[in-house]
C-alpha cells in the first residue's frame, strides 16, 4: 500500500448471502456487478460464529469481537426503565465499533442501517441507524446523526405503498393470478423491498454527498426474503403446494438479482482509491438441506448455514485470488489494516493480509478501549449500560414499592428476553471455549429453571471440560430417562467414563449414542471423535462421512477424516482433508497440527514446519509442537532447533492446554438444533 494515497473502504453487508445461491446466478450471467468484483478480486467463504443470530454477528463484524466482549446478545433487550422490551440498542454495546476507532483517528464513516446502531452515536461522519428505516415519522430525527440530515434523508425513505404491482413482477411473474385478499405474501415482499430500497436510496445519497473514509451499508433483505420465501425456491420441497411453488419460486433469485443491481449502483460512486468488501454474516440453506417449512418457521436459526460470503476488490487487494480460513471476526481488523491503523490485540479476528497486494505488517496495539474516547463518537457513559442489569435494578425498585410494577405479561417478557440473551451469551462463550466463564451463567439459568435440558447438558459438558467429573455425572443423573438415553447424553457419559478410566463403559456409551443418533452433522462429528479415541477407525470414518453428507462445508468432519488417515499412515489423504478443513476455518489449531503431522509423514519437512508454526501461533499444545520443531529444524537450522528445545524445557512444568475445537462446534448449538 502506498501510505501517501488516501484509501477508502466501502463495506457492504448482505445478511445471509450464500455462494450456493450466488454461483448458479453468476454462471447464468444474472449477477453481473458481483461477477465484475470477482473477476478482478478475491472471494472466499466466511465462517460464522455461534450463536448464528444477526445482531450479534453484525456487531462482531463491526467490532472484530465476540459477544462476550461486545455485549449485544439478541434481537431485543429490556428497556432501561423496565417498562418492556425493545430492539437491541447501541447503548448496550460494551466496546468500540470500527466507526468509533476511525472517528478518534480523524477518519469519517458513513454508516447506513447497521444492526444495533440506534440511538445513533455522535461519530465523525453520518450514522443512519437500523431503526431509521422503520421509525414512525415523529421519531425519525432521533435515528440520524447529525440530526440536521434527518429531513433530507427522511425524504428518501421508500414507503411500502409506493411499491406497485409491476415492481413485484421480477419476483412474482404470475402476480396477477395471486388472490391478494387472502394471500399476504406479496404485501410482505413489497414491505421488505421498500426497506431495502430505502437503505439503497440513503446510501446512494450519502456516498455522493458526505465525505467518507469508510462507507458501511447493511441490507437485511436476503435473510428476510429467505425466511419467507426460501421454501419455494427450486427444487420444490415436500409440503409446498404446486401453486405456491409456481407463484413464488422466483422470489429468491429475484432478490439476489435486485441486490446485484443495487451493488452496481453503489460501485458507480467509488474511485480507484476505494477497496470494496462485500460480506454476509452466515449462509442460508437453499438446497436439499433446507428445513421443512413448518420446522423452519419455529427454528429460524436452523435455516442458517455456517458459511457466508466474502468478496474483496480494490487497489490494495490481489486479483483473482481465493481467501481461505476467514471468519466474520476478521472484517474489522482487515479494514483497520487497509486504512493503515493498528489492529487491537483484544480483537478476536485477524486481518486478511494474505490477499493484500503488498506485504505489510500492521501495527498491533493492546486494544482501542480507553484510548482517545473523547473523540471516538461514543455515547455518554451514563446512557451506555447493560440492559439486563438496568432491568434488574428497576425490578428491585419495584419490589421496594416505589414504582408501580409493569403488567405481568410485560414482566414475563422482560424475564424471557433476559434469559434468551443470557443463553446466547453462554453459547458465544462455549464457542471459544470459555467454559469457566460460562459455568456461573449456566448456574444462574438453572436456578431460574431447573428442568431446562439444554442448560443441564451444557453445564455438564462445561464441568467435564473443567475436570469436575463428579459434579458433571451427578447433574446427568438428574435427567429423565428419555433424555439420559439420547445420543448427546450418552456421548457425555462416554466422555466422563473415559475421564474416570472406565474404557469399556465409555465404549458402550458411544455405541449407544451411535444407535440412537438422529441425523445431524454435529452429532455425527461427536460420534466420530468418540470412535477415534478408541481407535475404531472404520466406525469413526463412517460417522464423519455421514456428517459430511448432511453438511459438506464441515471442517470438524474433514479434520476427523484426516485423523483417521493419519492413524492409518495414509499421509497424502490426511494432507488433503486437513487442507480442506483449515481452508474452511483458519482458527482451527488441531487441524493445522494434523496437517503438519501429515506433511511430516509424507516427507515434506519445510511445509510441515510452516504448519506446526501456524498451530503454535494458534495456541495448540506448545510443548508438543516445540518437540516436533526441534527434530525438523535439526538438519536445516541448528539454532532454531535449539530455540525450540529451550522452549520445550520452559514449558515442561506447565499444564497442557488442549485446543479442542471439534467438541466446541458441537457444543455451540442446543440439542436437537
Amino acid at each position: 500500500m502506498n501510505p501517501s494515497r488516501k484509501r477508502k473502504v466501502l463495506l457492504i453487508g448482505w445478511d445471509s448471502a450464500d455462494w450456493e445461491m450466488i454461483d448458479p446466478l453468476l454462471q447464468k450471467g444474472q449477477m453481473p456487478a458481483l461477477a465484475q468484483l470477482l473477476t478482478s478480486g478475491v472471494r472466499g467463504n466466511l465462517a460464522t460464529i455461534q450463536p448464528v443470530l444477526s445482531p450479534m454477528l453484525w456487531t462482531s463484524i463491526a467490532t472484530g469481537k465476540r459477544a462476550d466482549k461486545h455485549g449485544i446478545c439478541g434481537f431485543t433487550e429490556p428497556l432501561p426503565d423496565g417498562t418492556g422490551i425493545g430492539p437491541v440498542r447501541s447503548t448496550s454495546r460494551k466496546c468500540k465499533a470500527i466507526w468509533n476507532i476511525l472517528s478518534q483517528n480523524g477518519l469519517k464513516s458513513n454508516i447506513v442501517g447497521w444492526f444495533a446502531t440506534d440511538p445513533p452515536e455522535p461519530i465523525n461522519g453520518v450514522m443512519v441507524t437500523d431503526q431509521f428505516l422503520i421509525a414512525p415519522e415523529d421519531k425519525i430525527a432521533k435515528s440520524v446523526h447529525p440530526p440536521e440530515l434527518a429531513d433530507t434523508l427522511t425524504a428518501l425513505r421508500v414507503p411500502p405503498t409506493s411499491i406497485m404491482g409491476d415492481d413485484l413482477l421480477a419476483f412474482i411473474p404470475r402476480l396477477k393470478e395471486v388472490d391478494l385478499k387472502t394471500d399476504k405474501r406479496p404485501v410482505k415482499l413489497a414491505r421488505r423491498l421498500a426497506k431495502a430500497a430505502s437503505v439503497q436510496a440513503v446510501a446512494t445519497a450519502l456516498i455522493q454527498s458526505e465525505p467518507w473514509d469508510l462507507m458501511a451499508v447493511y441490507f437485511d433483505a436476503i435473510d428476510q426474503f429467505g425466511h419467507e420465501f426460501m421454501s419455494y425456491h427450486p427444487p420444490r420441497m415436500p409440503g409446498i403446494t404446486e401453486q405456491d411453488f409456481e407463484f413464488y419460486q422466483h422470489v429468491m433469485t429475484g432478490c439476489y438479482r435486485f441486490h446485484d443491481m443495487m451493488l452496481h449502483v453503489l460501485l458507480q460512486y467509488i474511485d480507484d482509491q476505494t477497496n470494496v468488501i462485500l460480506v454476509s454474516d452466515h449462509g442460508y440453506e437453499c438446497g436439499h438441506r433446507r428445513l421443512p417449512p413448518e420446522v423452519a418457521k419455529k427454528n429460524p436459526e436452523g435455516c442458517h448455514r455456517g458459511f457466508g460470503i466474502a468478496c474483496l476488490k480494490g487497489p490494495d487487494i490481489k486479483e483473482n485470488e481465493r481467501l481461505y480460513g476467514a471468519t466474520i471476526l476478521d472484517v474489522t481488523p482487515t479494514i483497520l489494516a487497509l486504512l493503515g491503523l493498528p489492529v487491537g490485540g483484544d480483537m478476536d479476528g485477524r486481518p486478511w493480509l494474505e490477499v493484500f497486494r503488498q506485504e505489510i505488517k500492521p501495527e498491533r496495539i493492546f486494544g482501542w478501549e480507553g484510548l482517545g474516547d473523547s473523540k471516538a463518537g461514543l455515547h455518554k457513559s451514563e446512557i451506555r449500560q447493560d440492559p439486563a442489569e438496568a432491568a434488574q435494578a428497576v425490578a428491585q425498585l419495584v419490589e421496594l414499592g416505589y414504582i408501580a410494577p409493569p403488567g405481568k405479561d410485560v414482566q414475563e417478557t422482560i424475564q424471557n428476553t433476559i434469559r434468551c440473551n443470557k443463553i446466547s451469551l453462554v453459547r458465544a462463550m462455549i464457542d471459544t471455549p470459555r467454559m469457566a466463564q460460562a459455568v456461573p451463567l449456566l448456574r444462574e439459568l438453572m436456578a431460574e429453571k431447573k428442568e431446562d435440558e439444554w442448560c443441564v447438558l451444557t453445564l455438564a459438558r462445561c464441568l467435564h471440560g473443567l475436570g469436575q467429573l463428579k459434579e458433571a455425572r451427578l447433574l446427568l443423573e438428574t435427567t429423565p430417562p428419555e433424555v439420559k438415553h439420547s445420543a448427546q447424553v450418552q456421548l457425555l457419559l462416554a466422555d466422563l467414563a473415559l475421564a474416570e478410566g472406565n474404557r469399556d463403559q465409555a465404549i458402550s456409551h458411544v455405541e449407544a449414542a451411535n444407535a440412537n443418533a438422529f441425523s445431524h452433522h454435529l452429532l455425527f462429528n461427536q460420534i466420530g471423535r468418540a470412535f477415534l479415541q478408541f481407535a475404531r477407525w472404520q466406525e469413526a470414518a463412517d460417522a464423519f462421512r455421514k456428517s459430511l453428507e448432511t453438511e459438506p462445508d464441515n471442517p470438524a468432519a474433514l479434520d476427523g477424516l484426516a485423523s483417521v488417515h493419519l492413524a492409518k499412515g495414509e499421509w497424502e489423504s490426511a494432507v488433503e482433508k486437513s487442507l480442506e478443513a483449515v481452508g474452511l476455518v483458519h482458527f482451527y489449531p488441531e487441524a493445522h497440527f494434523h496437517l503438519a503431522v501429515a506433511l511430516e509423514g509424507s516427507g515434506r519437512p519445510r511445509e510441515a514446519i510452516a504448519a506446526y508454526e501456524t498451530a503454535l501461533g494458534l495456541g495448540y499444545q506448545p510443548a508438543l509442537l516445540h518437540r516436533h520443531l526441534v527434530e525438523l529444524f535439526k538438519p536445516i537450522d541448528a539454532q532454531k532447533s535449539e530455540e525450540h528445545k529451550r522452549a520445550c524445557i520452559r514449558l515442561r512444568q506447565q499444564p497442557m492446554f488442549r485446543a479442542d475445537f471439534k467438541s466446541n462446534l458441537a457444543e455451540g448449538q442446543p440439542p436437537g438444533a
Binding site: 447493560d386 435494578a393 421496594l400 444462574e444
Partner: protein
C-alpha cells in the same frame, strides 16, 4: 408558605426522601400523600407517599392536586413529568453503598427478592440512573433543583433546613424542621459524617 409551585422530593429509594418529607411537614408544608403505605421498621414515621405517583408512567392526574404541596417522586419517574409547570425539586443524595445495603435489608426483612447483581453492578446502574435524572433536570429550566446530602441533613439539620427554606422561598418553621431529624434512624452508615465545612 411557599407559592403554588409543586415541591418534589426525589432521589433513590432509601436515600432519605421520607426524612425530607418529615422535615417539610414539620416546617408547615402541606404534603400530597394518601397514607396508604403504613409506617414500618424501615420508616417508623411513615413513607409520605401517594400511590398514584407510582403510576406516573401512565397517569399524571395526581398533579392536579399537587400545587403548593410537596410530593415524593422517585428519580426514575421524573422524566415522565410534564415540563411546563413550575417545580422545585429537593433531590436527596446518599452514599450508594449505604443505599444498596439499606435496600437489601429492607427487601430481606419483607421477604421480597432483591436483584441478583453484585453491589458494584447495582451501584453502576444507579449511578447511571442518577446521572440521567440530573441531566434531565438540568435540561428543563422549569425544574429548579436543590441537592441535599443525607449525611448533611442528619449531621447539620438546622443548616440544611435553612437552605431548604431559602430554596422554597417560604416561611417554613426552620427550627421545627431541624427537630424532625432523628439521627438514630441513620442505621446503614459507612462511617460517622465528617464536619460540614
Amino acid at each position: 408558605m411557599p407559592g403554588n409551585f409543586i415541591t418534589i422530593v426525589s432521589g433513590l429509594p432509601r436515600s432519605g426522601t421520607s426524612l425530607m418529607m418529615q422535615m417539610l411537614q414539620a416546617g408547615g408544608m402541606r404534603l400530597l400523600t394518601d397514607g396508604q403505605r403504613a409506617p414500618d421498621d424501615h420508616n417508623p414515621r411513615g413513607y409520605f407517599e401517594h400511590e398514584s405517583v407510582k403510576h406516573s408512567r401512565n397517569d399524571l392526574s395526581w398533579l392536579n392536586e399537587a400545587g403548593g404541596k410537596a410530593v415524593k417522586v422517585i428519580h426514575l419517574l421524573l422524566p415522565h413529568l410534564p415540563t411546563d409547570r413550575d417545580c422545585r425539586v429537593i433531590f436527596m443524595l446518599r452514599d450508594l453503598q449505604e443505599v444498596i445495603v439499606s435496600q437489601r435489608v429492607m427487601l430481606k426483612q419483607q421477604g421480597r427478592p432483591a436483584a441478583t447483581l453484585t453491589d458494584a453492578a447495582l451501584a453502576g446502574v444507579f449511578e447511571k440512573q442518577l446521572a440521567t435524572a440530573h441531566q434531565w433536570l438540568a435540561n428543563h429550566p422549569n425544574f429548579r433543583v436543590l441537592y441535599i446530602n443525607y449525611r448533611d441533613a442528619i449531621g447539620h439539620p438546622l443548616e440544611v433546613a435553612g437552605e431548604i427554606n431559602r430554596f422554597l422561598t417560604g416561611n417554613l418553621r426552620v427550627a421545627d424542621m431541624a427537630a424532625a431529624v432523628d439521627p438514630a434512624l441513620y442505621r446503614q452508615r459507612k462511617s460517622m459524617p465528617a464536619d460540614r465545612s
